[in-house]
């Protein structure tokens, strides 16, 4: 079925509310208004009080969802922008992530936090960040970043059936994107990257909003005779290091591309895992990411700091240049 990314999210939520009686959906404006981006459209009408609005209280929202989860329910809490996760950070890290481990496996926290993130033209520094690296550093959490309508559906369903807490970071920029969604597919497990374009010269590992630009870059590079393998990481936690390392070891060149700021981004973890696993067979390593700034609102500026098809093409070309500093 062809769906937009946002409709795919909606379909997955509807599926869970139908199939899993303990599922509830909560968040700001999600119920009666149908969601600030429409992710929950129609669900209140169909499922009544199981879909409910909350005050603008992200900490209490996550904590309340956790309390329900402790009792065997499966709450899905929408946090409107990824930037606002920071308001609820104590509940996410010090409460949710600790639950199962510290209770020695007696308690479970099967909740899903859905948010959307990233920069769009004009969005300010408080509505633009890509913060997946913060959460991927928190043992106890799973973190998914769907890049397509189908993954918006499949990965959210994987999260909805998981008994662990899962953070799904959708992409506002991709919400209107249309694509084929296999609504009847088997429910996947959390985890696993995917090679979305095979190639033998260089490996690009990327995720979320940058999968499409990287595929575009691979197309451009193909014109030069460069065969680029593109891996959609899909899950920031757990990282599928096996798939990454296999590809990097095959091509010997790794370019990691993400929208988050460069320093301390998840790209560093991908590089470190690959470097440790692949060793000197990995001849060149490059990271392409947003420069280390706060996000400026003016598109004239944000364009200058965000990665793009062009910056990816340039980085790959540079990685393939024999004089490249890091392969020397």
């Amino acid at each position: 079925m062809e769906l937009t990314y946002i409709r795919a999210v909606n379909a997955a939520l509807g599926w869970a509310l139908r199939e899993l009686p303990d599922t509830v959906v909560l968040g700001e404006d999600v119920a009666i208004p149908g969601g600030p981006f429409g992710a929950t459209k129609g669900l209140r009408d169909e499922f009544g009080a199981r879909v409910f609005d909350t005050p603008i209280s992200e900490s209490a929202m996550v904590g309340t969802a956790l309390g329900m989860a402790l009792d065997g329910m499966r709450p899905v809490v929408e946090v409107m922008y990824g930037d606002f996760l920071l308001v609820a950070m104590d509940q996410i890290v010090n409460q949710v992530a600790n639950t199962h481990y510290v209770s020695n496996g007696q308690l479970r926290a099967p909740l899903v936090i859905r948010t959307q993130h990233g920069s769009t033209p004009g969005s300010c520094a408080q509505h633009s960040q890509s913060l997946e690296a913060l959460f991927a550093h928190v043992p106890g959490l799973r973190v998914g970043l769907p890049a397509t309508p189908d993954d918006a559906y499949q990965m959210l369903r994987a999260a909805l059936v998981s008994d662990d807490p899962v953070l799904i970071m959708e992409s506002r920029r991709l919400y209107p994107l249309k694509g084929e969604v296999d609504v009847d597919a088997d429910v996947q497990a959390v985890g696993a990257a995917r090679v979305v374009r095979p190639g033998r010269d260089v490996t690009i590992v990327t995720w979320g909003t940058l999968v499409a630009p990287c595929l575009e870059a691979a197309g451009v590079l193909a014109g030069d005779g460069i065969e680029t393998e593109v891996v959609d990481l899909r899950w920031a936690a757990p990282i599928d290091a096996v798939t990454v390392a296999a590809s990097a070891s095959r091509t010997g060149r790794l370019v990691v591309v993400h929208e988050a700021n460069r320093t301390g981004g998840l790209g560093a973890e991908v590089v470190a895992e690959a470097a440790e696993r692949v060793g000197t067979r990995l001849r060149t390593i490059r990271r392409v990411a947003t420069r280390d700034v706060r996000m400026p609102a003016s598109p004239a500026l944000s364009r200058a700091v965000l990665p793009s098809t062009e910056t990816v093409v340039d980085a790959v070309r540079e990685a393939l240049t024999p004089t490249s500093a890091s392969s020397s």
Partner: protein, 312 residues
């Protein structure tokens, strides 16, 4: 006919209104990237408040803050250039519509995290005490922000640390798409006693009432060194943001609310000739400023990484 001050109120409010409508057009024409949050219907609050505060009083607002910026004295052309993503003496396009500041005008900025500006205002109040200067910060928040933890923490903090400031809650009937009273257990002003302060309420659609209220609140905040929580009753006469189709509004509500439009009310005491004169002048000012703003250069991409730090 009428007080000449009425004409000033009207002019100041009409100016904000027209700027907001202009911005909405610019968004629809895609000349402004992204969205804007407009204060249409709420103009009397910044206009009345800024007329009553001291020359050095710092003001902090929300994403719905263009009216506050203008009322505080931020030049129109700079505000337009900033929201257009062009070079401006505000933030050079970095802040944009929802996060701009003009500290040189006493405008310490908008904030796009609900409630997050309140503790900064507490800090500005404490620094005024430390420095022994006569300065009372004013921070505007929405009704929905009362349910953010940091607002609560800040009100208590201000009360116990003797911070003199005004926390002005603009109760505009909605928090995004949810009616104000649906998810807040008590009206805004009823929260005041929880911080040991008495509730203040004011007609937020009457600039003169706003000015009187803010003037006496300011005096009390200053002399007693304490926070004052003011609930200003108003109505958001539009969407939460530029793209809001307002499907959640009950039929007829907007028409009902428009009866109390602060501009309509203020216009009543002004003769038709004066009114036309004011409008004409403001319209021309905006047109000129927009022309100038449009001529501003786009920010230089090579400066995009400047100022992450003060050094290095």
């Amino acid at each position: 006919m009428g007080d000449p001050q009425d004409q000033n109120w009207y002019a100041a409010m009409y100016r904000i209104r027209r700027v907001e409508e202009t911005l909405l057009d610019l968004v629809r024409q895609r000349e402004i990237a992204g969205s804007v949050h407009l204060c249409i219907g709420q103009e009397a609050i910044p206009v009345g408040a800024c007329a009553a505060i001291g020359p050095d009083d710092p003001v902090i607002a929300t994403y719905r803050g263009h009216g506050w910026a203008l009322a505080r004295g931020v030049p129109l052309v700079e505000l337009l250039a900033e929201t257009l993503g062009r070079s401006s003496t505000l933030n050079g396009g970095r802040g944009g519509s929802a996060y701009l500041s003009g500290p040189q005008y006493g405008f310490f900025g908008e904030n796009s995290i609900v409630g997050a500006g309140v503790p900064m205002a507490v800090g500005l109040a404490l620094s005024a005490s430390f420095q022994g200067v006569d300065r009372v910060p004013v921070v505007s928040i929405g009704d929905g922000a009362l349910n953010q933890g940091v607002v609560h923490e800040s009100l208590n903090m201000a009360a116990v640390l003797n911070a003199g400031l005004l926390v002005l809650v603009e109760n505009n009937g909605y928090a995004e798409m949810t009616p104000s009273d649906a998810l807040t257990a008590v009206p805004a002003a009823a929260r005041a006693p929880a911080y040991g302060i008495e509730p203040v309420e004011v007609d937020g659609n009457d600039p003169a009432a706003m000015a009187r209220c803010v003037s006496s609140a300011r005096a009390a905040a200053r002399s007693d060194r304490r926070p004052i929580l003011i609930e200003a009753h108003t109505r958001r006469l539009g969407g939460h943001y530029s793209g809001d189709v307002q499907h959640y509004r009950p039929a007829g509500e907007l028409d009902e609310w428009r009866v109390g439009d602060p501009l309509t009310r203020a216009a009543q005491s002004i003769g038709p000739g004066d009114l036309a004169g004011i409008r004409n002048q403001v319209d021309r000012e905006i047109e000129t400023a927009l022309g100038q703003a449009r001529e501003r250069s786009l920010p230089d991409p090579s400066t995009a990484t400047d100022h992450v730090y003060t050094t290095g």
